[in-house]
Symmetry: C2
Subunit: 195 residues, 2 copies
DNA sequence: TTTCGAAAACCTAACCGTTAGTGTTACGGT
DNA sequence: ACCGTAACACTAACGGTTAGGTTTTCGAAA
């Protein structure tokens, strides 16, 4: 029950990293579909079972970089300045995420993902899970009184904004447009108040 | 180039139906995961390759009934009364779809789908495809001037409404709530006009 | 009616992601 | 120094899916 801070953990992390690196290298080199799990395992000098001990699926190998996506979304809600309205905080974070994934460095990976239906499907389903976490974070905000349905809806809309904006010709302009809509959707859920 | 209305088509449709029936029967009887593709093919007295000539995947077997979902959504837009506003037409159709799938008869299938991550994932990704078709239908409406991003956004929101409402304790009340939000989102996209 | 092209179905054998079962090694706490 | 266990390895399989090539069945033109 002690704090686990030893060589064991470092080795584990190193193995994981070695697998992810090998996978990405091979995928970008030969294409996602042309590379088998056994190839990746061999390249990383690791048993297939070990690979699956670190990654739940072949697709998960591709989204190693996105691991903090979910966390960043929920933190944008929970860690925002006191009394800062929800939607602008969401907008700011989603904008950062969109910028991050439309940066030049991420282009080859994006091309790979867009080229594989399996990867696109996996990503969308991952985002839906993120939306659920986000909904929970919103629902837990003591400053908000909206019901579960509204929270889940806004969370889903925010994640939609991310994927829609990413695919638009001008991502940032699209994000502006979508968040104007989300803002309006959120406004009509406020409890009636005078003024 | 003649009109294909012969026995051939009937036999093909019959085979497809036979496979779908066998699949659903076995799935409901033993559970989705406990039934293999080879079992279904044997039960339908058909070769495995034939099965995959009719259905793209194992999951597709489950959603045979939903085949018109996409079509109904787009028709709700294209076939609505002249000058009928978009969002209420969408709302009406989504409500009908929600009612249809929360009906008592569909309960065993719903339970099966909810119990299998693979099926849930497949369904969500299917709905996203439907949202794309819906977006195209909306964008093609000559009475509307909104851009592609807005159309895709509203389409996505409408499909979200379907899946969120379905999972809510009171689906119809949830749908009301969500469509109030969608209506507001849509309103702010109108070109500025006096009155 | 006969003939012929093509669609539909068949069979076999594999491919590939994934998992179970079972050891083996290396670390961390006692 | 010792033991429990987490990490890794190896083999063999399972289950969805596809490739390859053959046979059957229909539709229509000759």
């Amino acid at each position: 029950m002690t704090v686990p801070t030893g060589r064991r953990e470092r080795k584990k992390a190193a193995t994981r990293q070695k697998i992810a690196d090998a996978a990405l290298r091979l995928f970008l080199e030969r294409g996602y579909d042309a590379v088998g799990i056994r190839d990746v395992a061999a390249e990383a000098d690791v048993a297939v079972t070990t690979l699956f001990a670190h990654f739940a699926s072949k697709e998960a190998l591709v989204f190693e970089q996105d691991r903090d996506f979910e966390h960043r979304l929920t933190r944008a809600v929970t860690d925002r300045a006191p009394h800062e309205p929800l939607v602008p905080a969401l907008r700011r974070e989603v904008l950062a995420l969109v910028r991050h994934c439309t940066a030049d460095g991420a282009a080859p990976i994006r091309r790979m993902v867009d080229g594989s239906p399996a990867l696109r499907e996996y990503e969308e389903s991952m985002r839906l899970r993120h939306a659920e976490s986000l909904a929970a974070a919103i629902a837990a905000d003591p400053g908000l009184t909206q019901g579960t349905t509204v929270c889940r809806t806004i969370a889903r809309f925010a994640v939609d904004a991310y994927s829609l904006a990413r695919e638009a010709p001008d991502p940032e302009a699209a994000l502006d447009e979508i968040f104007r809509m989300i803002e309006a959707a959120w406004e009509v859920t406020r409890p009636p108040r005078c003024g």
